[in-house]
């Protein structure tokens, strides 16, 4: 009886984990990179709103038609703007966004270098 229970639980967990960690479909992969515009802080993948469900249906339809990942992102960007993708393109509008953290990092490094080396030499 004990053995039967054990087998049952093992089988249960095998199937369960298969569902959780099973191979991600292409639709999941793409929808994880898309922001659900009407639900705050959720991706299209996470959301169960009508909007998100429609986008997921559209993605699978477009994939069936043979569109590439790039095509789908471009299509949605043309409809909803850059905001729908989590990773923004590098262009003149997003220049500050991309460059500023780098500048901040360099400035911090500069401060550390000054503090450690230049001051250390004096002593």
């Amino acid at each position: 009886m004990k053995l039967l229970k054990l087998i049952f639980f093992l089988l249960f967990f095998i199937f369960y984990l298969n569902n959780v960690y099973g191979e991600n479909s292409k639709v999941d992969e793409i929808s994880k990179n898309l922001r659900c515009l009407i639900c705050q802080g959720q991706s299209i993948y996470d959301s169960q709103s009508e909007f998100a469900l429609s986008v997921k249906t559209l993605i699978s339809k477009k994939l069936e038609k043979g569109d590439s990942e790039r095509d789908i992102y471009d299509f949605l960007k043309s409809k909803y703007g850059d905001w729908i993708v989590y990773k923004p393109d590098f262009n003149k509008y997003t220049l500050v966004l991309w460059i500023f953290p780098l500048l901040l990092f360099l400035f911090g490094g500069f401060l550390i270098v000054r503090k450690v080396f230049i001051k250390g030499n004096k002593i």
Binding site: E50, S54, T57, K79, Y80
Partner: protein, 172 residues
């Protein structure tokens, strides 16, 4: 020297952050994308009663503008805005198209029987994908298109008497 430099930097940073926060106080909270492609592809959508496919451009007769209202019987704000949609139907030179969004046919027909059918033609979007081609977020939403299928105006959410008046001025 060292203290002063970091002080100036900190000061600038605080000033910058304060400026950003202050500015966003007055921003419109509704997100509306700028510089997007405002032109809709000439897609074909199924008609509500007959299931025949219609191309958007072919819906125009002598009208110069088209209003597409996306609605569903399960959507409460659609119920509230319906009397304003009825008013839109009185405007000349405007093709009033209804797009039934993810709805059951029976409930949609009940909705129209109860509140009236102001639409010149009703199209149906069973899985919501056609609405994405229109750049729509959900229901209710009203779009004003010209003959080239360019979006002239987009109203997210239920329309009211102010918007009806605004649409009247757009057409004149």
């Amino acid at each position: 020297m060292k203290i002063r430099l970091s002080f100036i930097f900190l000061f600038c940073l605080i000033l910058f952050v304060a400026f950003v926060f202050y500015k966003s106080l007055f921003d419109d909270k509704n997100y509306a994308p700028k510089n997007i492609n405002n032109k809709i592809e000439n897609i074909s959508i199924k008609e509500f009663y007959t299931d025949k496919n219609f191309y958007l451009k072919n819906l125009f007769e002598e009208e110069t503008l088209m209003a597409i209202n996306i609605w569903a019987s399960w959507c409460i704000p659609c119920r509230q805005e319906h009397r304003y949609i009825n008013k839109l139907s009185e405007i000349d030179n405007l093709k009033l198209v209804g797009l039934n969004y993810k709805d059951k046919k029976n409930s949609a027909q009940m909705f129209l029987r109860e509140l009236g059918n102001p639409f010149d033609i009703i199209l149906t979007d069973t899985d919501g994908t056609k609405s994405i081609f229109l750049g729509a977020y959900g229901v209710p939403e009203t779009l004003i298109l010209d003959r080239e299928l360019k979006i002239i105006k987009k109203y997210i959410g239920p329309i009211n008497s102010d918007i009806v008046n605004e649409i009247k001025t757009i057409i004149k």
